[in-house]
């Protein structure tokens, strides 16, 4: 049964077709990875799914319901949350506040509750704070709870973004290059976290350049190149797919794929900060 259905979506930026007629599914309880060279359109696809960009054509269905055209917060409330390729925490909020923002869509306090601090609002605040602290300690972040997000060590900032995404109680978690910039030890921990989340019933869809991470944890892999899906399948199938090898290396040995794309320095890419939503 597929939780997320991407149905022939395209996204055009002026003359550039960043995502071109891409179709695939993410099944319930799966870990699916999306890979592809820089500028392949992976982040753009994420932005289309989460409602940050309107799709040019095509449909996205979550749990059988079309979510195209919904504003991002509605999509979050339906159960899809994400992290960003370039960490986008609320830097001058404490870690626990960041997670509490994540709980926003699950809270019910209305304006009047907020202004008058009604017992209902108070109860909810307490419950939410407790829940936020639980999430933080689940990710090993409890000692940072009262620190400004920007003061956390880099690896912990990545983890805090995951904590914030988990706070809304999602069914599908989108991770945009969660391992970027992490050291090998942190990458192992991250993989532990991801598989653990899946064991708890979460579906995970991630973009990742690190082939070791991708190959080890993915149930399935989708490969994008120049906006088009060029392959899809199990890690073994994708690894040996000639089109994938060509896309990555022009031509050459498959073994090189392990290192070829994990270099931190990549060409500038306007979508790396999803700053403005196009009109």
């Amino acid at each position: 049964m597929s939780l997320l259905e991407i149905d022939h979506i395209s996204k055009r930026f002026g003359g550039l077709l960043a995502v071109n007629d891409v179709t695939f599914d993410v099944g319930d309880g799966e870990i699916v990875s999306m890979i592809g060279p820089n500028g392949a359109g992976k982040t753009t696809a994420f932005n289309c799914i989460t409602g940050l960009y309107p799709v040019t054509s095509g449909d996205v269905r979550f749990d059988g319901v079309s979510i195209v055209g919904l504003p991002p917060h509605r999509i979050t409330a339906l159960g899809i949350t994400r992290t960003f390729q370039n960490i986008r925490l609320f830097s001058f909020m404490t870690a626990v506040d960041n997670v509490m923002v994540g709980e926003h869509s699950r809270m019910h306090a209305k304006v009047w509750d907020a202004i008058l601090r009604t017992p209902k609002a108070r109860r909810e605040e307490r419950a939410v704070e407790g829940h936020a602290l639980t999430i933080l300690s689940g990710l090993g972040l409890e000692r940072y709870a009262d620190m400004y997000a920007r003061n956390l060590p880099y690896g912990f900032q990545r983890r805090l973004e995951i904590a914030r995404a988990l706070a809304s109680g999602p069914r599908l978690l989108l991770l945009d290059e969660p391992a970027a910039g992490l050291n090998p030890q942190e990458k192992n921990e991250l993989m532990g976290v991801i598989s653990h989340l899946r064991d708890e019933g979460l579906t995970i869809f991630l973009i990742e350049h690190d082939m070791r991470v991708v190959m080890e944890i993915s149930d399935r892999i989708v490969v994008l190149d120049y906006g088009e899906k060029i392959a899809e399948g199990s890690p073994a199938e994708v690894r040996n797919n000639p089109r994938v090898i060509e896309a990555y290396l022009g031509s050459g040995a498959t073994t090189q794929m392990h290192t070829a794309r994990s270099t931190p320095l990549r060409p500038a890419n306007p979508a790396d900060d999803e700053g403005e939503r196009p009109a």
């Binding site: 917060h73 001058f92 304006v111 202004i115 909810e124 605040e125 409890e142 653990h196």
Partner: protein
Amino acid sequence: MLETPVSPIPADSVDLPATAGQTREVESSAIFWLLAVGGLLLVAMGWFLPWFVEPTANGIGFSPQDVVSSSPTGVGTVLVYVMGAAMLALLAGLVVDAVAVYGHRGRALRYEGARAVLALTGVVCTLAIWVLIGLSHEEPLFGALSASAQTDNAVWMTLTGFAICAFAYGLRPWIIRHTSVSLAGVAFIVGGLVPYIFNQSSDFISWAAGSLAIYTLLGLGLNVVVGFAGLLDLGYAAFFAIGAYTAGSLFGSRHGVHEIPFWVIIFLGAAVAALFGAILGAPTLRLRGDYLAIVTLGFGEIIPDAANNNLFSQTGGPNGISGIDRPGFGHFDFGTDYRYYFWALLILISLVIICMRNLERSRLGRAWVAIREDEVAASATGINTVSGKLLAFAIGASVSGFAGAFYGAELGIVTPEDFRFAVSVTALTIVVLGGIGNITGVAVGAMIVTFLIFWVLPHMTEWSTTVGHTTGITQLSTVPYEQYSFVVYGVMLILIMLLRPAGLLPSRARKVELQTGMESESLAAVRGTV
């Protein structure tokens, strides 16, 4: 929803850098100093005030030391001496501290319990004397001093200052632990006493009710938009105008609905202003920064212009709406006695501040901060940024709607000229000067700005004429000081940006934001990546 926690991961054992707790400590001591210095200032002002006030016929005893030197009798004597002893003992404690700090040995704060007792004794005696003087209209309890004596302002200022100093100094540990409560308590009590302290100078009370209190409300409301949600609004006076005209037309002579009590009408004023806040908010939601500022600026100009052009023949054109009824309770009428407006506004401001503090710590308050910091991330995290911003505009506008309704009732007339750009500038200056996003800061900013603009500037002519007469420089009496209000704003803003860019009492996050902003900018300059 994830009920069970995710598998724990060993966190590296790193030393934590400065945490929130320490920052709170620093903030608390800022509040302590605010109280301590404020109290001392009041004492000093009380002491020196008689030098500036002309002696009058019945002018016996020009300064507060006369409370003692006019040989008090009866209950008064005991109280005065007990208060004096407590104050001297506290002063001795101050010296002990100074020595301890100077000599780098011993704790700065010793005998805490004794100090607390002394402080409370001092405060209670001071307030008792205060009340006794106030009650003794006929027979002075304290020698020549009575409520109607010319020296009241001075004596009462000094007594209030004494009480604050005793409280601040003697109960320092308690204050640092309960900053908001102590600051709010002192502000509320002293605020409530202002009409008594200045019972001799009715124009000071009209300043307090007409400028200070009104602009405090405006600052608090604008702080929601600019400080909490981070949306720059240059036309805030528009909502003030809308509130004032709404209340004015319902309560004024034109089509006065005299049956509705004023206390209902101020809420109507607030509601209409909130509605307009949302109406202005809706088309500007997609705009940011400069663009938003320009649109709000335009709105701020349109509203008084529309009123000036007698919109729908309802606003009375340049003459505005006059004959606005005075509010009151039942048969009791506020009339033109500014003391009642001041007290009513004081209560309203206290309620608004409580609501603001609630908002700050609520789901909505967090959403505003998130929108301010990163709108995209906020919306992806589940926040409806559209309704968040609309609510910021609406709530901000409603507070100025209250202010507008009161303003009209106080003056009995509203005209378009009361709501020009200068009002928006004043409100914005208050917020920036006090500390963007900090409620206490806004209150302090309102005091400073309105004191300079609406008290010092209008009196400058008078003062400098006096100085001109004594010194023989006649030109001094012809300087049009009141035209220099924008110069004062400019100088204030430049100084604050140079000296304390986050405002006098910065909000925690803003302080760090600014500091790191500067650091990373200068780092970028070093790396040559600017």
